[in-house]
Protein backbone atom coordinates (compact mmCIF):
# COMPACT_ATOMS: atom_id res chain seq x y z
CA UNK A 1 0.00 0.00 0.00
CA UNK A 2 2.77 2.41 0.94
CA UNK A 3 4.22 1.90 -2.54
CA UNK A 4 0.81 2.54 -4.07
CA UNK A 5 0.43 5.90 -2.35
CA UNK A 6 4.07 6.97 -2.42
CA UNK A 7 4.38 6.00 -6.09
CA UNK A 8 1.84 8.67 -6.93
CA UNK A 9 3.95 11.24 -5.07
CA UNK A 10 7.20 10.25 -6.81
CA UNK A 11 9.09 13.45 -7.82
CA UNK A 12 10.79 11.67 -10.77
CA UNK A 13 7.45 10.72 -12.28
CA UNK A 14 6.08 14.18 -11.56
CA UNK A 15 9.06 15.77 -13.36
CA UNK A 16 8.47 13.60 -16.41
CA UNK A 17 4.83 14.63 -16.49
CA UNK A 18 5.63 18.34 -16.07
CA UNK A 19 7.99 18.08 -19.08
CA UNK A 20 5.32 16.29 -21.09
CA UNK A 21 2.74 18.97 -20.16
CA UNK A 22 5.11 21.76 -21.23
CA UNK A 23 5.72 20.05 -24.57
CA UNK A 24 2.05 19.34 -25.19
CA UNK A 25 0.31 22.55 -24.05
CA UNK A 26 1.22 24.95 -26.85
CA UNK A 27 -2.06 26.88 -27.03
CA UNK A 28 -3.52 28.80 -24.07
CA UNK A 29 -6.25 26.97 -22.19
CA UNK A 30 -8.25 27.32 -18.98
CA UNK A 31 -8.69 24.11 -17.01
CA UNK A 32 -11.17 24.06 -14.15
CA UNK A 33 -10.67 21.71 -11.23
CA UNK A 34 -14.23 21.07 -10.15
CA UNK A 35 -13.43 19.48 -6.80
CA UNK A 36 -12.35 21.27 -3.63
CA UNK A 37 -10.07 18.38 -2.74
CA UNK A 38 -8.24 19.06 -6.04
CA UNK A 39 -8.01 22.77 -5.20
CA UNK A 40 -6.34 21.82 -1.94
CA UNK A 41 -3.99 19.26 -3.57
CA UNK A 42 -2.95 21.75 -6.27
CA UNK A 43 -2.25 24.48 -3.72
CA UNK A 44 -0.54 22.19 -1.20
CA UNK A 45 1.85 20.64 -3.71
CA UNK A 46 2.54 23.92 -5.52
CA UNK A 47 1.30 22.51 -8.84
CA UNK A 48 0.11 25.89 -10.18
CA UNK A 49 3.72 27.05 -10.16
CA UNK A 50 4.77 24.06 -12.29
CA UNK A 51 2.30 24.83 -15.09
CA UNK A 52 3.52 26.47 -18.30
CA UNK A 53 2.18 29.97 -19.09
CA UNK A 54 -0.29 28.43 -21.51
CA UNK A 55 -2.24 26.68 -18.74
CA UNK A 56 -4.53 28.63 -16.46
CA UNK A 57 -5.87 26.54 -13.57
CA UNK A 58 -9.20 27.68 -12.16
CA UNK A 59 -11.14 26.46 -9.12
CA UNK A 60 -14.79 25.52 -9.50
CA UNK A 61 -17.86 24.90 -7.37
CA UNK A 62 -16.74 21.55 -5.94
CA UNK A 63 -16.64 22.36 -2.25
CA UNK A 64 -20.01 21.10 -0.95
CA UNK A 65 -19.77 23.18 2.20
CA UNK A 66 -19.07 26.34 0.19
CA UNK A 67 -21.95 25.92 -2.26
CA UNK A 68 -24.50 25.31 0.50
CA UNK A 69 -26.89 28.27 0.46
CA UNK A 70 -27.36 30.49 3.51
CA UNK A 71 -31.05 29.53 3.67
CA UNK A 72 -30.08 25.85 4.06
CA UNK A 73 -27.53 26.55 6.79
CA UNK A 74 -30.14 28.71 8.54
CA UNK A 75 -32.55 25.76 8.38
CA UNK A 76 -30.01 23.42 10.02
CA UNK A 77 -29.35 26.00 12.74
CA UNK A 78 -33.07 26.43 13.42
CA UNK A 79 -33.45 22.66 13.77
CA UNK A 80 -30.50 22.55 16.19
CA UNK A 81 -32.28 25.18 18.31
CA UNK A 82 -35.31 22.97 18.94
CA UNK A 83 -35.55 21.44 22.45
CA UNK A 84 -34.53 17.79 22.67
CA UNK A 85 -32.74 17.82 19.30
CA UNK A 86 -29.18 16.58 18.82
CA UNK A 87 -27.75 17.81 15.50
CA UNK A 88 -24.96 15.52 14.28
CA UNK A 89 -22.84 16.39 11.25
CA UNK A 90 -19.39 16.34 9.64
CA UNK A 91 -16.73 18.63 11.14
CA UNK A 92 -16.52 20.71 7.95
CA UNK A 93 -19.98 22.16 8.56
CA UNK A 94 -19.37 23.58 12.03
CA UNK A 95 -17.83 26.98 11.26
CA UNK A 96 -19.73 27.76 8.07
CA UNK A 97 -21.61 31.02 8.54
CA UNK A 98 -25.29 31.17 7.70
CA UNK A 99 -27.16 34.47 7.59
CA UNK A 100 -26.95 35.13 11.32
CA UNK A 101 -25.01 32.34 13.05
CA UNK A 102 -23.02 29.13 12.59
CA UNK A 103 -23.31 25.67 14.12
CA UNK A 104 -20.19 26.19 16.21
CA UNK A 105 -21.60 29.48 17.55
CA UNK A 106 -24.83 27.62 18.38
CA UNK A 107 -22.86 24.90 20.17
CA UNK A 108 -21.05 27.56 22.18
CA UNK A 109 -24.49 28.89 23.10
CA UNK A 110 -25.45 25.50 24.54
CA UNK A 111 -27.22 23.73 21.64
CA UNK A 112 -26.45 20.04 21.30
CA UNK A 113 -24.38 19.94 18.09
CA UNK A 114 -22.02 17.00 17.64
CA UNK A 115 -19.37 16.12 15.07
CA UNK A 116 -19.34 12.55 13.80
CA UNK A 117 -16.90 10.70 11.55
CA UNK A 118 -19.51 8.55 9.85
CA UNK A 119 -23.28 9.06 9.50
CA UNK A 120 -23.62 5.59 11.07
CA UNK A 121 -22.27 7.09 14.32
CA UNK A 122 -25.40 9.24 14.54
CA UNK A 123 -27.51 6.05 14.70
CA UNK A 124 -25.53 4.93 17.76
CA UNK A 125 -26.23 8.29 19.43
CA UNK A 126 -29.97 7.81 18.81
CA UNK A 127 -29.82 4.30 20.31
CA UNK A 128 -27.89 5.48 23.37
CA UNK A 129 -30.10 8.53 23.98
CA UNK A 130 -33.70 7.46 23.31
CA UNK A 131 -35.18 10.60 24.90
CA UNK A 132 -33.48 12.82 22.29
CA UNK A 133 -34.24 13.21 18.60
CA UNK A 134 -31.04 12.92 16.55
CA UNK A 135 -30.92 14.80 13.24
CA UNK A 136 -28.06 13.95 10.93
CA UNK A 137 -27.19 16.92 8.69
CA UNK A 138 -26.05 15.43 5.38
CA UNK A 139 -23.95 17.63 3.11
CA UNK A 140 -21.87 16.48 0.16
CA UNK A 141 -21.93 15.28 -3.42
CA UNK A 142 -22.32 11.78 -4.84
CA UNK A 143 -19.31 10.55 -2.83
CA UNK A 144 -21.13 11.21 0.43
CA UNK A 145 -24.83 10.88 -0.47
CA UNK A 146 -24.73 7.03 -0.67
CA UNK A 147 -23.26 6.82 2.85
CA UNK A 148 -26.27 8.77 4.13
CA UNK A 149 -28.66 6.76 1.93
CA UNK A 150 -27.36 3.54 3.50
CA UNK A 151 -27.63 5.09 6.97
CA UNK A 152 -31.30 5.88 6.25
CA UNK A 153 -31.79 2.26 5.15
CA UNK A 154 -30.05 1.09 8.33
CA UNK A 155 -32.26 3.37 10.51
CA UNK A 156 -35.31 1.79 8.85
CA UNK A 157 -33.92 -1.71 9.43
CA UNK A 158 -33.36 -0.94 13.12
CA UNK A 159 -36.77 0.82 13.26
CA UNK A 160 -35.23 3.79 15.06
CA UNK A 161 -38.05 6.10 16.23
CA UNK A 162 -35.80 9.05 17.18
CA UNK A 163 -33.52 9.59 14.19
CA UNK A 164 -33.92 11.58 10.97
CA UNK A 165 -31.76 13.08 8.23
CA UNK A 166 -31.67 16.61 6.81
CA UNK A 167 -30.43 16.15 3.26
CA UNK A 168 -28.60 19.10 1.72
CA UNK A 169 -26.90 16.76 -0.74
CA UNK A 170 -26.20 17.91 -4.27
CA UNK A 171 -25.19 16.26 -7.52
CA UNK A 172 -22.34 17.43 -9.74
CA UNK A 173 -23.16 16.90 -13.46
CA UNK A 174 -26.12 19.34 -13.50
CA UNK A 175 -23.93 22.03 -11.93
CA UNK A 176 -21.33 21.53 -14.67
CA UNK A 177 -24.04 22.02 -17.29
CA UNK A 178 -25.12 25.26 -15.56
CA UNK A 179 -21.49 26.43 -15.54
CA UNK A 180 -20.82 25.77 -19.23
CA UNK A 181 -24.10 27.54 -20.09
CA UNK A 182 -22.97 30.62 -18.11
CA UNK A 183 -21.56 33.16 -20.61
CA UNK A 184 -19.21 34.59 -17.95
CA UNK A 185 -17.54 31.22 -17.40
CA UNK A 186 -14.90 30.21 -19.95
CA UNK A 187 -13.51 26.72 -19.46
CA UNK A 188 -11.61 24.76 -22.10
CA UNK A 189 -11.21 21.57 -20.07
CA UNK A 190 -12.49 19.98 -16.87
CA UNK A 191 -10.42 18.17 -14.23
CA UNK A 192 -13.30 16.00 -12.98
CA UNK A 193 -13.66 14.90 -9.35
CA UNK A 194 -12.15 11.47 -8.65
CA UNK A 195 -14.31 10.20 -5.82
CA UNK A 196 -17.63 11.54 -7.11
CA UNK A 197 -16.76 9.55 -10.23
CA UNK A 198 -15.92 6.46 -8.16
CA UNK A 199 -19.67 6.40 -7.52
CA UNK A 200 -21.24 7.70 -10.75
CA UNK A 201 -18.66 6.54 -13.31
CA UNK A 202 -18.04 8.17 -16.66
CA UNK A 203 -21.43 8.26 -18.38
CA UNK A 204 -23.05 11.27 -16.61
CA UNK A 205 -20.28 13.57 -17.93
CA UNK A 206 -20.57 12.47 -21.55
CA UNK A 207 -22.57 15.61 -22.48
CA UNK A 208 -19.54 17.82 -21.79
CA UNK A 209 -17.68 16.25 -24.69
CA UNK A 210 -20.59 15.44 -26.97
CA UNK A 211 -22.77 18.57 -26.61
CA UNK A 212 -20.18 21.19 -25.70
CA UNK A 213 -16.95 19.78 -27.15
CA UNK A 214 -15.13 20.23 -23.83
CA UNK A 215 -12.45 17.64 -22.96
CA UNK A 216 -12.74 16.20 -19.45
CA UNK A 217 -10.52 13.89 -17.41
CA UNK A 218 -11.51 12.13 -14.18
CA UNK A 219 -8.53 12.72 -11.91
CA UNK A 220 -7.15 11.44 -8.60
CA UNK A 221 -5.69 13.46 -5.74
CA UNK A 222 -1.99 12.68 -5.40
CA UNK A 223 0.35 15.11 -7.20
CA UNK A 224 1.15 12.57 -9.94
CA UNK A 225 -2.59 11.94 -10.43
CA UNK A 226 -3.31 15.66 -10.89
CA UNK A 227 -0.37 16.11 -13.30
CA UNK A 228 -1.50 13.07 -15.28
CA UNK A 229 -5.01 14.56 -15.52
CA UNK A 230 -3.63 17.89 -16.77
CA UNK A 231 -1.37 16.12 -19.26
CA UNK A 232 -4.26 14.07 -20.66
CA UNK A 233 -6.34 17.25 -21.04
CA UNK A 234 -3.45 19.03 -22.78
CA UNK A 235 -3.12 16.05 -25.12
CA UNK A 236 -6.84 16.07 -25.99
CA UNK A 237 -6.69 19.82 -26.70
CA UNK A 238 -3.52 19.47 -28.80
CA UNK A 239 -5.04 16.63 -30.83
CA UNK A 240 -8.37 18.42 -31.24
CA UNK A 241 -10.29 15.68 -29.37
CA UNK A 242 -13.08 16.10 -26.80
CA UNK A 243 -13.67 12.98 -24.71
CA UNK A 244 -14.27 11.92 -21.12
CA UNK A 245 -11.20 10.00 -19.97
CA UNK A 246 -10.09 8.46 -16.67
CA UNK A 247 -6.68 9.28 -15.19
CA UNK A 248 -7.52 7.56 -11.91
CA UNK A 249 -8.16 3.99 -12.98
CA UNK A 250 -7.17 2.47 -9.64
CA UNK A 251 -10.14 4.18 -7.98
CA UNK A 252 -12.67 4.73 -10.77
CA UNK A 253 -14.23 2.37 -13.26
CA UNK A 254 -16.26 3.55 -16.26
CA UNK A 255 -19.49 2.17 -14.81
CA UNK A 256 -18.92 3.60 -11.28
CA UNK A 257 -20.24 1.80 -8.20
CA UNK A 258 -23.71 0.42 -9.05
CA UNK A 259 -24.38 -0.68 -5.44
CA UNK A 260 -23.85 2.89 -4.23
CA UNK A 261 -25.92 4.42 -7.02
CA UNK A 262 -28.78 2.00 -6.30
CA UNK A 263 -28.70 2.91 -2.59
CA UNK A 264 -28.76 6.62 -3.44
CA UNK A 265 -31.70 6.16 -5.81
CA UNK A 266 -33.58 4.07 -3.28
CA UNK A 267 -33.46 6.76 -0.57
CA UNK A 268 -33.35 10.01 -2.55
CA UNK A 269 -35.11 11.69 -5.44
CA UNK A 270 -33.82 14.65 -7.47
CA UNK A 271 -35.18 18.10 -6.56
CA UNK A 272 -34.16 21.66 -7.46
CA UNK A 273 -31.34 22.98 -5.29
CA UNK A 274 -29.92 26.41 -4.58
CA UNK A 275 -26.15 26.70 -5.06
CA UNK A 276 -24.35 29.66 -3.54
CA UNK A 277 -23.18 31.95 -6.31
CA UNK A 278 -24.93 30.03 -9.05
CA UNK A 279 -28.58 30.06 -7.98
CA UNK A 280 -31.17 27.33 -8.31
CA UNK A 281 -30.09 24.47 -10.57
CA UNK A 282 -32.94 22.13 -11.56
CA UNK A 283 -32.65 18.54 -10.40
CA UNK A 284 -29.31 18.88 -8.58
CA UNK A 285 -30.61 18.42 -5.04
CA UNK A 286 -31.39 15.13 -3.29
CA UNK A 287 -34.50 14.92 -1.08
CA UNK A 288 -35.68 11.85 0.83
CA UNK A 289 -38.31 9.85 -1.04
CA UNK A 290 -41.84 9.90 0.46
CA UNK A 291 -41.41 6.23 1.52
CA UNK A 292 -38.75 7.45 3.96
CA UNK A 293 -40.75 10.47 5.24
CA UNK A 294 -40.50 9.21 8.81
CA UNK A 295 -36.72 9.66 8.55
CA UNK A 296 -36.92 13.10 6.92
CA UNK A 297 -35.97 15.88 9.34
CA UNK A 298 -37.94 18.40 7.28
CA UNK A 299 -41.12 16.52 8.23
CA UNK A 300 -40.05 15.39 11.71
CA UNK A 301 -38.74 18.73 13.00
CA UNK A 302 -40.71 21.38 11.09
CA UNK A 303 -39.27 24.86 11.61
CA UNK A 304 -39.46 28.26 9.93
CA UNK A 305 -36.04 29.92 9.79
CA UNK A 306 -35.82 33.72 9.45
CA UNK A 307 -35.47 35.17 5.92
CA UNK A 308 -31.88 34.63 4.71
CA UNK A 309 -29.50 37.49 3.93
CA UNK A 310 -26.24 37.57 2.02
CA UNK A 311 -22.92 38.37 3.64
CA UNK A 312 -21.95 41.96 2.77
CA UNK A 313 -18.91 42.28 0.53
CA UNK A 314 -18.29 38.52 0.23
CA UNK A 315 -17.68 37.46 -3.39
CA UNK A 316 -17.61 33.74 -2.67
CA UNK A 317 -20.27 33.20 -5.34
CA UNK A 318 -18.07 34.59 -8.12
CA UNK A 319 -15.09 32.59 -6.83
CA UNK A 320 -17.19 29.40 -6.95
CA UNK A 321 -18.11 30.04 -10.59
CA UNK A 322 -14.47 30.62 -11.48
CA UNK A 323 -15.06 34.19 -12.71
CA UNK A 324 -13.05 35.73 -9.86
CA UNK A 325 -9.79 34.53 -8.32
CA UNK A 326 -9.80 34.53 -4.50
CA UNK A 327 -7.15 37.26 -4.18
CA UNK A 328 -9.20 39.55 -6.44
CA UNK A 329 -11.95 39.70 -3.80
CA UNK A 330 -11.87 42.97 -1.85
CA UNK A 331 -12.04 41.12 1.46
CA UNK A 332 -9.33 38.51 0.76
CA UNK A 333 -6.64 38.79 3.44
CA UNK A 334 -8.15 42.13 4.53
CA UNK A 335 -10.85 41.28 7.02
CA UNK A 336 -11.36 37.75 5.67
CA UNK A 337 -8.76 35.21 6.77
CA UNK A 338 -9.00 31.56 7.94
CA UNK A 339 -8.78 32.86 11.54
CA UNK A 340 -11.58 35.39 10.96
CA UNK A 341 -13.48 34.15 7.91
CA UNK A 342 -16.28 36.19 6.38
CA UNK A 343 -17.50 33.72 3.74
CA UNK A 344 -17.61 29.94 3.41
CA UNK A 345 -14.79 29.76 0.81
CA UNK A 346 -12.42 30.96 3.54
CA UNK A 347 -13.97 28.73 6.24
CA UNK A 348 -13.93 25.31 4.67
CA UNK A 349 -10.61 23.49 4.61
CA UNK A 350 -11.32 22.87 0.93
CA UNK A 351 -12.55 26.34 0.04
CA UNK A 352 -10.65 28.09 -2.75
CA UNK A 353 -9.95 31.16 -0.62
CA UNK A 354 -8.59 29.07 2.27
CA UNK A 355 -6.36 27.10 -0.14
CA UNK A 356 -5.00 30.24 -1.80
CA UNK A 357 -4.48 31.96 1.53
CA UNK A 358 -2.69 29.07 3.13
CA UNK A 359 -0.46 27.82 0.35
CA UNK A 360 0.08 30.25 -2.49
CA UNK A 361 1.41 33.43 -0.92
CA UNK A 362 -1.77 35.19 -2.01
CA UNK A 363 -1.69 33.32 -5.30
CA UNK A 364 1.21 35.34 -6.72
CA UNK A 365 3.10 32.23 -7.83
Amino acid sequence: MSDLSSGFRDPEIARGLVDAIRETAQTPCTLMEVCGTHTMAIAKHGLRGLMPDTINLLSGPGCPVCVTANADIDLAIEIARQPGVVLATFGDMMKVPGSYSSLSAEKADGRDVRVVYSPLDSLSIAEREPDKHVVFLGVGFETTAPTVALTIREAARRELPNWSALSLHKTVPGALRALVNDPEVRVTGFILPGHVSTIIGLEPYRFLAEEYGIPSVITGFEPVDVLQGVWMLAKQLAEGRAEVEIAYGRGVSAEGNPTAVAAMEEAFMPVDAEWRGIGVIPGTGLALRPEFARYDARARVPVTPPAPREIKGCQCGDVLRGVLLPFDCKLFGRGCTPEHPVGPCMVSSEGSCAAYYRYTDYGKD
Binding site: M1, F8, I13, A20, Y117, P146, L150, G251
Partner: protein
Protein backbone atom coordinates in the same frame (compact mmCIF):
# COMPACT_ATOMS: atom_id res chain seq x y z
CA UNK B 1 -15.01 16.76 1.73
CA UNK B 2 -14.82 14.23 -1.08
CA UNK B 3 -11.57 12.88 0.28
CA UNK B 4 -11.31 9.10 0.45
CA UNK B 5 -8.38 7.42 2.15
CA UNK B 6 -6.81 4.07 1.22
CA UNK B 7 -7.15 1.38 3.90
CA UNK B 8 -6.56 -2.36 4.13
CA UNK B 9 -9.11 -4.86 5.48
CA UNK B 10 -7.56 -6.72 8.42
CA UNK B 11 -10.55 -9.01 9.00
CA UNK B 12 -13.43 -10.50 7.03
CA UNK B 13 -16.62 -8.38 7.06
CA UNK B 14 -19.13 -9.59 9.68
CA UNK B 15 -22.83 -10.39 9.16
CA UNK B 16 -23.79 -6.69 9.20
CA UNK B 17 -20.97 -5.85 6.77
CA UNK B 18 -18.75 -4.13 9.33
CA UNK B 19 -15.02 -4.74 9.17
CA UNK B 20 -11.79 -3.64 10.82
CA UNK B 21 -9.38 -1.76 8.57
CA UNK B 22 -5.86 -0.38 8.90
CA UNK B 23 -5.57 3.24 7.77
CA UNK B 24 -1.85 4.08 7.81
CA UNK B 25 -1.42 2.20 11.09
CA UNK B 26 -4.69 3.37 12.67
CA UNK B 27 -7.39 0.72 13.19
CA UNK B 28 -11.02 1.63 12.49
CA UNK B 29 -14.32 -0.11 11.93
CA UNK B 30 -15.98 0.68 8.63
CA UNK B 31 -18.90 -0.61 6.58
CA UNK B 32 -18.51 -2.60 3.37
CA UNK B 33 -22.17 -2.17 2.36
CA UNK B 34 -21.04 -0.23 -0.70
CA UNK B 35 -18.23 -2.63 -1.63
CA UNK B 36 -19.75 -6.03 -0.78
CA UNK B 37 -17.01 -7.94 -2.62
CA UNK B 38 -14.23 -6.61 -0.33
CA UNK B 39 -12.38 -9.32 1.58
CA UNK B 40 -9.57 -9.49 4.15
CA UNK B 41 -6.33 -8.19 2.63
CA UNK B 42 -8.03 -6.01 0.00
CA UNK B 43 -7.24 -2.31 -0.20
CA UNK B 44 -10.27 -0.03 -0.33
CA UNK B 45 -11.01 3.70 -0.54
CA UNK B 46 -12.72 4.82 2.70
CA UNK B 47 -15.06 7.82 2.89
CA UNK B 48 -17.18 8.77 5.93
CA UNK B 49 -16.83 5.31 7.46
CA UNK B 50 -17.70 3.38 4.31
CA UNK B 51 -15.55 1.50 1.80
CA UNK B 52 -16.64 3.12 -1.47
CA UNK B 53 -14.42 1.10 -3.83
CA UNK B 54 -11.89 -1.72 -3.91
CA UNK B 55 -8.61 -0.26 -5.18
CA UNK B 56 -7.42 -1.87 -8.40
CA UNK B 57 -3.83 -2.54 -7.33
CA UNK B 58 -2.79 -4.19 -10.58
CA UNK B 59 -4.00 -1.13 -12.50
CA UNK B 60 -2.12 1.16 -10.10
CA UNK B 61 1.15 -0.74 -10.60
CA UNK B 62 0.73 -0.69 -14.37
CA UNK B 63 -0.01 3.03 -14.52
CA UNK B 64 3.00 3.80 -12.32
CA UNK B 65 5.20 1.77 -14.61
CA UNK B 66 3.81 3.56 -17.66
CA UNK B 67 4.31 6.98 -16.05
CA UNK B 68 7.81 6.12 -14.89
CA UNK B 69 8.80 5.36 -18.46
CA UNK B 70 7.71 8.87 -19.46
CA UNK B 71 10.06 10.50 -16.98
CA UNK B 72 13.14 8.33 -17.23
CA UNK B 73 14.98 8.42 -20.50
CA UNK B 74 16.28 5.11 -21.86
CA UNK B 75 19.83 4.57 -23.09
CA UNK B 76 18.56 4.72 -26.69
CA UNK B 77 16.85 8.07 -26.01
CA UNK B 78 20.10 9.48 -24.64
CA UNK B 79 22.09 8.12 -27.61
CA UNK B 80 19.59 9.61 -30.07
CA UNK B 81 19.76 12.96 -28.27
CA UNK B 82 23.58 12.92 -28.35
CA UNK B 83 23.52 12.10 -32.06
CA UNK B 84 21.10 14.94 -32.75
CA UNK B 85 23.25 17.37 -30.78
CA UNK B 86 26.37 16.27 -32.61
CA UNK B 87 24.68 16.65 -35.97
CA UNK B 88 23.43 20.13 -35.03
CA UNK B 89 26.89 21.17 -33.90
CA UNK B 90 28.42 19.82 -37.09
CA UNK B 91 25.86 21.72 -39.15
CA UNK B 92 26.52 24.92 -37.20
CA UNK B 93 30.29 24.37 -37.59
CA UNK B 94 30.07 23.91 -41.34
CA UNK B 95 28.23 27.24 -41.68
CA UNK B 96 30.89 29.07 -39.70
CA UNK B 97 33.35 31.08 -41.73
Amino acid sequence: MCLAIPAQLVSEPNEIQMVEVDILGVKRHISTMMAPAARKGDHVLVHAGFAIQIIDEEFAAESLQMLRQMGIKTAEDLEAEADALEAAEAAAGSQAP
